[in-house]
């Protein structure tokens, strides 16, 4: 993906490989599956303790990121890094001499998963795709909340 010509429109086309709808559907189905799995584990009544709440929160967040990464697949470096974090802790940190070329991308490589072992060009690519997927994931979660809250009167 990063080896394309420098034509920005073209790289946008190629980087938006999944046009938003298919990406969203994929993300949504995975996320819903994960949430169903989670739901069986959780106690049906709202938990009393704060620790329980925290655990639930973390589980949902993990499910969100895991479903996002697995929906994208191992095609992207950030999804690979995320999946690595989920499963084992193999820090595949092969550093091909990046610190020299890093013109101010230091913060970015902290934020985007797997950002350290990438050169600047691919880091920017991965950031773009990561932003797209994050946006889609946020929309999905919000829509789930809205639909549930409109159907029931929890809010």
């Amino acid at each position: 993906m990063s080896s394309l010509s420098q034509n920005p429109k073209k790289t946008l086309l190629f980087s938006a490989m999944k046009n938003p709808n298919t990406l969203k559907k994929k993300l949504a189905s995975r996320f819903l599956k994960a949430m169903k799995k989670l739901k069986y584990k959780m106690s049906p009544s709202p938990p009393a303790s704060i620790a329980e709440k925290k655990r639930r929160h973390r589980a949902v967040r993990a499910a969100a990121y895991a479903s996002m990464a697995s929906a994208v697949g191992p095609r992207r470096a950030w999804s690979r890094a995320l999946l690595r974090k989920m499963k084992g802790r193999k820090r595949a940190r092969r550093n091909p001499g990046n610190m020299n070329t890093r013109f101010g991308l230091n913060h970015l490589c902290d934020i985007v998963p797997g950002g350290e072992a990438m050169d600047s060009c691919s880091l920017l690519n991965e950031t773009a795709h990561y932003i797209k997927c994050l946006v889609a994931q946020v929309q999905i979660m919000r829509e789930i909340l809205h639909s549930s809250s409109s159907s029931s009167t929890i809010l």
Binding site: S3, S5, Q6, N7, K10, T11, S15, K24, K25, A28, S29, L32, M35, L38, K39, M42, S45, K54, R55, R56, H57, R58, A59, V60, R61, A62, A63, A64, L82, K85, F103, G104, H107, L108, D110, I111, S120, C121, L124, N125, T127, A128, I131, K132, L134, V135, Q137, V138, Q139, I140, M141, R142, E143, I144, L145, S147, S148, S149, S152, L155
Partner: protein, 338 residues
């Protein structure tokens, strides 16, 4: 079309070489190449494949110490060449064209060259060496911007019509008035790539188009990603609170399919302000409890409950010291039970 005089020489050369591509052999053998129509026959058969095959393989010249001739790499050139017999002589007519090792850019180059060709005027079949080389020089100069650089810097040359190039390097021509050092060429190519990516990112992040200067744009991008991660966090917390009551099967029918088409980034920015404004007191209390006890640092907690200021003055609320606070957290959900 006018006969391509030396067209068959190309085919024969490649056949001599023992080209490894069976397709190419098939292409050569089947159309029964004659002097008149060989190259164009090849073209009619499968122009893109032919070009790709021509591109991706070394063809030695006929001369004993062969500088490998470089075939023109896009279809437009070959078409025009066949039409106007650019390949009239075998000697050094094919030397100085550039080759791209990536066939993806063929289409781009073809567009450029088509545009160029319409501007150029073509002389008929009696093209001289000088005219050919002049045309080629023109085209190469216009090809400068779309060329990419490969990893090896050794084969760069300044923009004179010189000797043969080597394969399979990718060449970057120096533009007018710029340094032709191989290092600077490589750097320039890299910089152009990075600038193209930054432009993409600018389009992706809302409100980045007005900002000038890469540093500020980078800051905006970082802010945006952090804001998105915070939103994921926030929404996951709400979902965790609500989720025993949610029927996730039915949701798959309703949620994403119809309502998602208009949601763009602007739609994403606006709702956080209103949805987070829907928090009632109980929810806010719950959130405060949770986040107070959680090991999140103070600024994050303060930001999340300050719902009306969610997105817009996020810059002012964020101090860049807090990037360290957020660094480990968002995408590394450690399922530790504390």
């Amino acid at each position: 079309m006018e006969p391509g005089l030396e067209g068959p020489q190309l085919q024969f050369r490649s056949a001599e070489m023992g080209c490894a591509f069976d397709d190419f052999h098939g292409l050569i053998s089947t159309p029964q190449l004659t002097a008149a129509s060989s190259f164009t026959a090849l073209l009619e058969l499968a122009p893109p494949q032919a070009v790709e095959l021509l591109v991706t393989e070394d063809f030695p010249a006929k001369q004993p110490p062969p500088p490998p001739p470089i075939f023109p790499t896009d279809i437009g050139l070959i078409h025009r060449a066949s039409k106007f017999s650019v390949f009239a002589s075998a000697d050094n007519s094919l030397e100085t064209n550039t080759i791209l090792s990536v066939s993806n850019s063929l289409a781009v180059k073809q567009e450029e060259l088509d545009a160029d060709s319409r501007r150029n005027s073509y002389s008929p079949a009696d093209s001289d060496q000088s005219l050919k080389s002049g045309k080629r020089k023109e085209r190469e100069k216009k090809l400068k911007e779309s060329n990419k650089k490969s990893k090896s810097k050794a084969a760069n040359e300044p923009s004179d019509n010189g000797g043969a190039e080597e394969l399979p390097y990718v060449h970057v021509r120096a533009r007018r008035g710029q340094a032709t050092d191989s290092h600077s060429l490589a750097e320039r190519a890299r910089r152009e790539k990075i600038n193209a990516r930054m432009k993409l990112l600018q389009e992706l992040v809302p409100g980045c188009n007005k900002i000038s200067g890469t540093a500020m744009v980078l800051d905006e991008i970082i802010n945006h990603v952090q804001a998105l991660q915070r939103q994921v966090e926030f929404l996951s917390m709400r979902l965790a609170a609500v989720s025993p009551g949610i029927d996730f099967d039915l949701d798959s029918l309703f949620t994403v399919n119809g309502s998602s088409n208009d949601n763009s980034y602007s739609g994403m920015i606006a709702p956080p302000i209103c949805t987070e404004g829907q928090l009632d007191g109980a929810r806010q209390l719950q959130l405060q409890q949770l986040w107070h006890c959680d090991e999140l640092q103070q600024p994050v907690w303060a930001r999340e409950t300050d719902t009306s200021n969610f997105i817009a003055p996020a810059n002012s609320l964020l101090s860049y010291d807090s990037t360290s606070a957020n660094s480990g957290k968002p995408f590394a959900p450690r399922c530790t039970t504390s």
